[in-house]
Structure formats: C-alpha cells, structure tokens
Symmetry: C2
Subunit: 371 residues, 2 copies
C-alpha cells in the first residue's frame, strides 16, 4: 500500500487551500469561468486585488502609512530593486549595513555590493561570530545598544538554509535608521509589528501561495519618487504603489491563492493562533530531534527557526539512509538546502497539520530503533 504523502518542502510549499485554488481555476467565484480566463481589468479581479490589500492590513495590522505591493517576480529580485528604488531619496549615496546571518543575508549583500560599484549605495557589513551561522547575529544595533553608522540596516528574519530565526520581536521601536527585512520564510508565523520596519519583503512560495509572486510592504515616505531609469516601470515601487500592482498584468493566480490563504488564516484564529500552532509544531520537532541518538539540531536554542528546523546526522551514513527511510513512509522533501551540506530540514509553515508532524516524529523514532 502506498503511504499517504506528507511533503515537508521548505519552499516552494503548498498551503491548506489547494482545493480552493483548484476551485478558482475551475470556476472563479461562481462565474462559471476559470480564473485563468479573466482579464485583469475585470471588476471581480479588481475586487480581489483590493481584498488582498485589506486582508493583509487586517490580519497583520498594517497602517495606511505603508503601501503593500504585489510584484510578479521572486523575492531575490528585491535584493537589488529595493536599493535602486529607494536609495535615490537623498542627494548623497546612502549607507546600508548588512547584518550577516546566513545564506540569504549574503545573497542580498552581494547584490548591494554590485550596486555599490556603480554608486547606488555604500555598503558595510556586520560580521557574524560563527562562520557556520549556527547562532544569533549581533542584535545590539537592533536593540539600540550600539550606534549604527548607516541609513538602513538589512536583516533576514528567518534564514531558511541554516534554520536560524532572528528574535525580531525584540527589535526596538523608533530606531535611528530604517530596518529592511527579508521575511520570506517566516511571514505570518505569528504577530509582526510592521511599524518597526522601513521595508519588509517576501516571496509568496513559503506558505502563502505559488512561486512567482513577491510582496513588498514599504513605508510610503521611503518610496523613491525620483525616477530611476534602470528600474523597469513594472518594478518601480512608486509606479506599482500608485497602481496597486496593476501597472502591468499581475500574477493574479498567485495573488488569489494568497487571498485564499489569508482568509484561511483569519478563519483559523489569525496570527495569535498561527503563532501557537507554529510553536507547537517546532517544539515537537526539536523535542524529537533532541531525543534522537542519530541526529542533532546544530543551531543554538535561542536561534532556532520555527518554520524551518534544520538537523544533521552524527554519522554521514544516516543521511541518505534516513532520506530513503522517510520516502518509503511518505515523508517527502526533508533534504536540506544544497548549500548546507548533508543537512535535513522540515518546512513547517502555516496549516501544516500536527498529524503530519507526528508522522515525521514516528518515522524518526522508528529509524532510531532500526538503523
């Protein structure tokens, strides 16, 4: 008998609203027409674009001081785009400090360093004590315990590759610089005080919807008004904020999928409930790994990701063995990021049922007994 499939991808990853997405493709909101057949200027589409905005504001608590802009592109495009869009506000090149925390902060840093060469910004780096990024980065700047010589501080709220979570709830309000945060892999894992940030961006494919959609939440006064010809108009924060993401044809299937997921979150208790469930999943998984004699969680406790627990085998032989063992039991996609060596990883995004999490625990336990 084929076991029930339990995918644990860390992204792209599905959501609990897959059937509603299918329903939209079959018959969009009772029209008898597939969502794929709808022109994007139709009233029903415009209504859902508005619903996207209002659901986000209501669920997260985002004031009108911020624009929420959906973009047809990946999150990594914004590693470059936020600079070319935002940094032309002043007359002089503006300074960005990058808080190194892992794979993704380094990817964003590399884009900034390219742009530094052509005078779009000045870049500095806050180094990490651990070259393997298995602990927290220096939080002192974010908690106003040290002055920062920069206009922007760039942080990654959750490093999917290393499985490190920034304790972003401890970030101080009213910092003397703008915090720019990549929230791709932990957005909506719990309450989030957007007012502490200048810019938040994220890719939809980590628990919100299909890949190919990114979302930028930006304080309106940071949106560059001076045209930067190097930015395509469809990637201009000013243009798309004004047009509500409709300057060009939007990736509406993905936006509708996000709307359906936001409605699901609201119906299931909002971000407080999401946080409780997220903590419950993570606690169970880290508990199971802690009890294991074959695997360990390399990240220090205070830095552990709730959405992407990472674990490693003590002995290399158990890496492929466990992957096969999981596969045979329907536990899929637990291989870690290709850059993180022989690590394993579980995607535990909103809506991942405890039943699946228990099934993973049971598999791990069984492996312990037999391997």
């Amino acid at each position: 008998m084929t076991p029930q499939k339990r995918p644990f991808s860390s992204g792209p990853t599905g959501t609990p609203v897959t059937e509603s997405i299918i329903q939209s493709i079959r018959d969009f909101r009772g029209t008898g027409i597939s969502v794929l057949d709808f022109p994007h200027r139709e009233e029903l589409i415009l209504d859902r674009m508005k619903a996207f905005d209002s659901l986000m504001r209501r669920i997260v608590g985002i004031s009108d001081e911020y624009a929420i802009i959906p973009f047809s592109c990946g999150c990594s495009d914004h590693f470059n785009l936020w600079i070319t869009n935002v940094l032309r506000v002043g007359a002089r090149p503006r300074k960005i400090a990058y808080l190194r925390s892992g794979f993704w902060s380094d990817k964003a840093l590399a884009e900034a360093q390219r742009l530094e060469k052509v005078g779009e910004c000045e870049v500095s780096v806050i180094e990490h004590a651990d070259p393997q990024f298995r602990s927290l980065p220096d939080m002192s700047y974010l908690q106003m315990r040290r002055p920062l010589d920069a206009d922007f501080l760039y942080v990654v709220a959750n490093e999917t590759t290393q499985g490190v979570r920034l304790p972003y709830e401890t970030i101080t309000s009213n910092l003397p610089f703008h915090v720019v945060a990549d929230f791709s892999s932990c957005f909506l894992e719990g309450p989030l005080d957007v007012s502490k940030y200048g810019i938040i961006f994220l890719g939809a494919q980590k628990g919100l919807g299909p890949a190919g959609l990114s979302i930028v939440i930006i304080r309106r006064d940071l949106i560059g008004q001076k045209d930067n010809p190097h930015v395509p108009l469809s990637k201009s924060y000013a243009v798309q904020a004004k047009e509500g993401g409709l300057y060009n044809t939007p990736n509406f299937l993905a936006i509708e999928s996000v709307c359906l997921m936001l409605e699901w979150i609201e119906k299931h208790g909002g971000l407080t409930a999401m946080e409780a469930q997220s903590k419950e999943r993570a606690a169970y998984v880290y508990g199971a790994i802690g009890a294991s004699k074959r695997f360990y969680a390399p990240v220090v406790e205070a830095a552990r990701s709730r959405t992407n627990p990472v674990f490693c085998p003590y002995e290399l032989i158990h890496f492929e063995q466990f992957l096969s063992f999981c596969k045979e039991r329907g536990i899929e996609f637990v291989k870690g990021h290709r850059s993180a060596g022989n690590s394993l990883r579980l995607g535990l995004f909103n809506g991942k049922p405890m039943e699946s999490v228990y099934a993973f625990g049971k598999t791990l336990e069984e492996f312990e007994r037999t391997a």
Copy 2:
C-alpha cells in the same frame, strides 16, 4: 438557464489544458503530491524544466544558437531588461530604432527613452503614417529596401490593443541589424523562423499559460557577458541562460502549464495545424464583422491580427448594448483595450474551438436582427 460561458479574453487567457493544470495541482505526474508542494531542485521539476526547453525547440524549430529563458516577471519588464542586459556588448552606446506600430511599441519605446537619459542606449523612432495605427508600419527596413542607422530594430509582431499584425513572415533573413521582437500575443499562431531575430520575448498569458511568466529567446552571442549591476542577478540574461532559469525559484506552475500547452500543440499537429486553425477562426470572425451593419473592423485588411480581431460600432449606442447582449449569451470579455476607446476585441488564441467562434458569430447576427 445559464448559457455556457465562452470567454474571449485577449489576455490573460485560458488554454485548452486547464484540466491538466488542475491535475498537476492535485497530483503532479502521479506522485500523489501537488505541484505546489514540490521544491524546485527536485529531479521531476528539473526534468520538466528540460522538457520546456526541448518542447519549445522542437515545436518552433529553435537551434542551439539560441537560449530559451523563462523569467518570473511580465513581458513588459523586458522592455527595459533587454537593453540593460544586451546593450553593454560594445564600447559605445548602441543604437536602437523603434518601429512604431501601436500601444505596445510605444510602451517599449518609452522604457528605452528613459534608459537613453542615463546613457544605456541611443534611440530613434520610425514613425507611423496613421496616428491611430490602423495600418501597417513601414516594412522597408525589415525587407532590406532601405538602410537603417541602428544596431537593433525593435518591432511588435502583434499589437493586441489595435489588433494589428506585422506580416513578420516577410521579414528578410540576414538583415544588417538585429531584430528584437515582442511576440507576446501571437507566439505559436503559426510557423516562426526564429533565425531572423536577435531576441524574441513574450508573456505567457496570451495563450500559453498563467500570467507572471515571460520567455526570452535570444541568440547566445547577444547575451551580455559584462555584468550590469543595475540588473538583479535573477534578471540577468547571462546568469539565467547559464542556470536554465533556475538561478532563483522559478514560477514553476506557469512553466508546467506552458509545457502542458506545448504538448497539446504538438499532439494537435504543431504550428502548421495551429496556423490553419488560426486562419480559419480569423477568417470567420472578420467575415461576420464584414457582414455586419452595426460594426466594422477599423484595421486595413493586410494588417489584421489573427489572434486579436478588433471591431467598433458605427453608433456608440451599440457598444454597451452589444456587450450586454453578449454577456446574456455567455460571450464574455469582448471589450477592447481600455486605451482603444469604445472598441471590441476577441481573443482567438490556440485551442479556441470553432464552436465558440461560431457562437460569437451567431450572437452578432442575432444582435443585428434585433438591435
């Protein structure tokens, strides 16, 4: 009784493979897992990325001299990106001539003019005799009857807004400049000799798949190798050509949808069959409009689009009247582009059944008798 819905959107528009897309979301290629749950480094995904490439090459006839790159963004991003990616090949600013043919050539021209200001290119314009773009643009440069003082000639193969089709089959081979062509709304309407072009790009949402995916077909020697820091790495033609579109998370749902549509085209006779069907649909529709006493096709015969016939009412009163009349009979989304005034438009992409086209004709006839 609710009439059967027959959407005629000119984009985004559905395809005949909607049920296969749904099947992929429910159970991707018999794995028991939704395509939305698949990490993009899984073998099955990599296989389909390769299938995308080989299907395109086989169906269109694209040699290995060209790279075929899927991008998570709209086609209009490339109005800017092709310049920032490609024009750094030489030492001097390179010259682009824009063949004005309608709304979309002007959109692309505007992006080039922005980039001209920062020295990325030099732009010239080949004007159109008709300010309303209801006839063909000057084809003399494309047929080597006049010299062109530019390195690139930018053309739009099909102007969706005006409903004008460039007779691109008459373009001469081995022109002394590179032709860059926006094929968004007529790609795969029939055979296409890619070797005549330096770059072809298109958005998927006009008959290939969902919005949020664009495809660039570019002669490899034109891909800029010199890094332009203003281009995000995920939008670098060089990087994504090398990575097969997998530098960052691709919009795989859209790519898979395109694969399914390409397989459908192959199964249904390839581009020769598509051309015959396209001609049959267009001939019927223009015939019906020609027979009408209420509507006329404003575009001269030689310039008429096969994928997007445009027609106008002689009397304004018949515009809204006919739209309602159509809606009552299930004929949806026949309103023209918002910039084209009170025009009507039919999207007649691959797979649109003649039965639907006849239903439109019947509706028009009925309207003639009653209105």
